[in-house]
């Protein structure tokens, strides 16, 4: 019998576990994937010429085993073991509504391969649902979460600049990775020609300057290699393996089981509480029951949804904690892949050193300082770099000494910005269980039905128009635009399927991420999100996880749960 069980060891689960362990709770983390280890499981030492198949996943293997995962920019031959084989762990979608579910099942989950961009939601974001009526009104406001953002930023280490922007609150930052000269030129052009728009250094969970509390965990400053997705032996970016699980482990209160696939959460109708978690061993397929006083589900948005919908009983015939019928609904991602690329013929005659693990960020300005013909808004990530050897060598015909000569020269500056747009919560964008298909462990597979709506379509056009205008304002010659958003899911910001809300009839979780229907069940992964904002969400998941762990412990001590 544990005090707490945390399902999932990724971004939110490992933070929940750390916070629970630090409060003295004997905590079990259940991970469906295999055990991997900080350092030894990484391939960050491989030189470019040592990469298997020049970094490319074999074509037949990609098509057979990774038809979805291989769409992700971060997957290479050097880290392919960090991605789920779609062939082994299928899910379904309607034929005309593809959804890319990008997954990493191993200890640490997607915290190993995440993009590390870390932005707070703002007061405006927590008020959005109440204001325009879409989705459930958040039961918390920015001020409720602000101290927990502070707490998480300090712990994980976020490099960033203080900007004083209402729509993108400042945090507890390490020094930023400064803009390069072309980005400074872009910043000046955008900010002078479009008052209210800002170009700032991307806020990123890499240790620009490791602090003593990072070094205590064996983490050191970022070496500016930009090999993050292979795992970082320096522990320079926050992941469960480098940071939160070691912090949990040093309390002596942590137990981890891996290769343990959650079958269901057990509910006791007499007490109205959950009592344990049934798991299936991924290899032997043997069943096991783990019991605890409180349960946190941090299995990722779709994973948590699958567990809740699969945990049926007389009390919950439609899935655990689902009296509202909201479990599985309001699936959101971000508009993603909407990019504008320009060349700067009059870029500065300078260069930079290092491969910075971030770039620039343009915080939301539509429906902030400028109107939009749609609800909500978007930000951009991007960066400027001197065009590299690939474009020099392959960007136009040419052979021999000429090709070598031109590739040896520094390329012109290329500016790249890509919009991330808020997606409205829509109950018809939904995760359900497939009526007949099960996976190899006998668990019903998920069926995902998700599509962008008219608000997202209107936003898409404006993302491209604004992007072009900003690139051109900096003297850029637009050479490429991608005007169609990526398949939903590929933003890898899926969220919303167990939404927080004030009304138990219309939401799954209350303001403490506690299930309305079950007092000792907490859900703190992306499924808790009542709206998506346009910011990269992991920081918010972590802040919610820490806050919920704090309150859950208090409730437990007070005998309330």
């Amino acid at each position: 019998m544990f005090d707490a069980i945390v399902i999932g060891s990724g971004m939110s689960g490992a933070i929940a576990a750390k916070e629970l362990c630090e409060r003295g709770l004997k905590t079990l983390v259940i991970e469906r994937g295999r055990k991997i280890e900080h350092g030894v499981s990484y391939t960050d030492s491989l030189q470019p010429w040592e990469l298997p198949n020049a970094g490319m996943v074999p074509e037949e293997e990609a098509l057979r085993d990774y038809p979805v995962q291989s769409h992700c920019y971060a997957m290479t031959s050097a880290n392919k073991d960090f991605w789920v084989k779609d062939s082994e762990q299928p899910y379904s979608t309607p034929a005309d509504k593809p959804f890319d579910w990008i997954r990493g099942n191993h200890l640490g989950g997607r915290s190993l391969m995440w993009g590390r961009q870390s932005y707070r939601l703002s007061p405006m974001d927590f008020e959005a649902n109440a204001k325009d009526g879409h989705g459930s009104d958040w039961p918390i406001r920015y001020d409720d979460l602000a101290p927990w953002y502070d707490h998480i930023e300090r712990f994980i280490g976020v490099a960033g600049s203080k900007e004083g922007l209402a729509q993108l609150p400042d945090g507890e930052f390490l020094p930023p990775f400064a803009l390069n000269d072309a980005e400074v030129q872009f910043k000046q052009a955008v900010e002078s020609k479009f008052p209210g728009r800002n170009v700032i250094p991307g806020r990123v969970a890499n240790l620009s300057k490791a602090q003593p509390h990072h070094e205590e965990l064996g983490r050191v400053s970022c070496q500016v290699r930009s090999l993050c997705e292979r795992g970082c032996s320096y522990g320079a970016y926050h992941s469960s393996l480098s940071s939160s699980l070691p912090a949990a482990e040093r309390t002596g209160n942590l137990t981890i089981v891996t290769d343990a696939i959650v079958h269901s959460i057990v509910h006791d109708p007499k007490t109205g509480k959950v009592t344990g978690v049934r798991v299936i061993d991924a290899n032997t397929k043997q069943g096991q029951l783990y019991e605890a006083k409180i349960i946190f589900s941090c299995a990722s948005t779709i994973g948590t949804t699958q567990i809740l919908l699969g945990s049926t009983s007389e009390a919950f015939p439609n899935g655990l904690a689902n009296r509202s019928d909201m479990v599985g609904r309001n699936l959101m991602d971000h508009l993603y892949g909407l990019s504008v690329v320009g060349v700067l013929p009059k870029g500065p005659n300078t260069f930079y050193k290092g491969r910075r693990p971030t770039g620039l960020y343009i915080p939301r300005f539509r429906n902030v300082s400028e109107p939009g013909s749609f609800l909500r808004g978007y930000g951009y990530q991007g960066g400027a770099s001197r065009m590299g050897w690939r474009s020099a060598a392959l960007g136009k015909p040419g052979l021999g000494a000429d090709l070598k000569e031109r590739t040896r020269k520094l390329g012109p500056w290329m500016l790249y910005i890509s919009g991330f747009g808020e997606m409205l919560p829509n109950p018809d964008n939904r995760v359900t269980l497939h009526p007949t298909r099960t996976d190899k462990w006998g668990i019903p597979i998920v069926h995902v039905e998700c599509a962008f709506g008219s608000n997202e379509q209107a936003m898409t056009k404006q993302i491209i128009a604004d992007g072009k205008a900003m690139v051109e304002a900096a003297g850029g010659m637009v050479v490429n635009t991608n005007t169609t958003p990526s398949t939903p899911g590929l933003g890898i910001h899926e969220m919303g399927t167990a939404c927080m809300g004030k009304d138990p009839a219309k939401s799954v979780l209350n303001g403490f991420n506690q299930a309305h229907d079950i007092p000792n069940l907490f859900i703190t992964d992306g499924s808790a999100m009542a709206s998506s904002g346009c910011q990269n969400p992991s920081l918010t998941y972590m802040a919610l996880s820490a806050r919920a762990a704090h309150h859950a412990t208090e409730f437990l001590r007070e005998g309330k749960i």
């Binding site: 030189q47 470019p48 010429w49 990469l51 198949n53 020049a54 970094g55 074999p58 074509e59 037949e60 920019y73 990775f177 390069n180 970022c222 070496q223 500016v224 290699r225 930009s226 892949g337 990019s339 060349v343 013929p345 500065p348 005659n349 300078t350 260069f351 930079y352 050193k353 290092g354 491969r355 770099s385 001197r386 065009m387 590299g388 050897w389 690939r390 020099a392 392959l394 960007g395 136009k396 015909p397 040419g398 052979l399 021999g400 000494a401 000429d402 090709l403 070598k404 031109r406 590739t407 040896r408 020269k409 520094l410 390329g411 012109p412 010659m477 490429n480 991608n482 990526s486 590929l490």
Partner: protein, 207 residues
């Protein structure tokens, strides 16, 4: 700065032809090529391995710096065909090689690998320009468009050249002699001066 901004194709072609006419005396002789192509157990047939060797040497010859053969590109290309390429890809690349060989037979009456370095360059240069005409990309396709790249008039040749170029520029030789690569830069300096010695940085990243 390199001249990627020059998008005038006609002048580009003239420039290429001028270079070919000048007969830049770089690359291996047919005998040296044959020796370089003698590999223990290539996956490719001896004919195609010799062809890849000749094509790689034509695209990236030894000049005052090492070329594709020095960097071991024929062997790493052979390994890619064996370990990475799908059957369709093998067929596509094999056909691209055969077409180059057929062109040599047609114009010069002998195989591409039997030509001198100057003849190879003269033959392949206009072919390269034609093959790499950008055509509209087919609609659809998932993933990020920037990862897919442009569509060429001769996609088989485009992929062949791309693989040879990538294998050279991520090789230790290419990263040492043509570009610079520091596995662990250790610090981010957002602005450093450009000097005559400044080289682009290499690596396996997308940009």
């Amino acid at each position: 700065m390199n001249d990627l901004l020059s998008l005038d194709r006609r002048s580009l072609i003239q420039q290429m032809l001028a270079l070919a006419g000048a007969g830049a005396a770089v690359g291996f002789s047919p005998a040296a090529l044959a020796k370089a192509a003698a590999r223990a157990k290539p996956y490719l047939s001896p004919t195609h391995f010799a062809l890849v060797t000749a094509v790689a040497d034509t695209i990236i010859p030894r000049t005052d710096t090492p070329g594709a053969i020095d960097a071991g590109v024929p062997a790493t290309f052979d390994a890619l065909i064996a370990n990475w390429a799908s059957p369709d890809r093998r067929q596509q690349l094999s056909q691209a090689l055969s077409e180059i060989d057929a062109l040599a037979h047609e114009k010069k009456g002998m195989g591409f690998a039997q030509l001198s370095a100057t003849e190879r360059l003269a033959l392949l240069t206009p072919y390269d320009v034609e093959a790499l005409q950008v055509v509209p990309s087919p609609a659809g396709g998932r993933g990020l468009s920037m990862m897919r790249g442009p569509t060429f008039a001769n996609p088989g040749y485009g992929k062949l050249k791309e693989l040879i170029v990538i294998l050279y520029y991520i090789s230790e030789t290419g990263l040492t002699h043509e570009l610079t690569y520091d596995h662990t830069p250790g610090e981010w300096l957002p602005s450093i001066p450009v000097t005559p010695d400044t080289r682009p940085t290499g690596g396996a990243g997308l940009f």
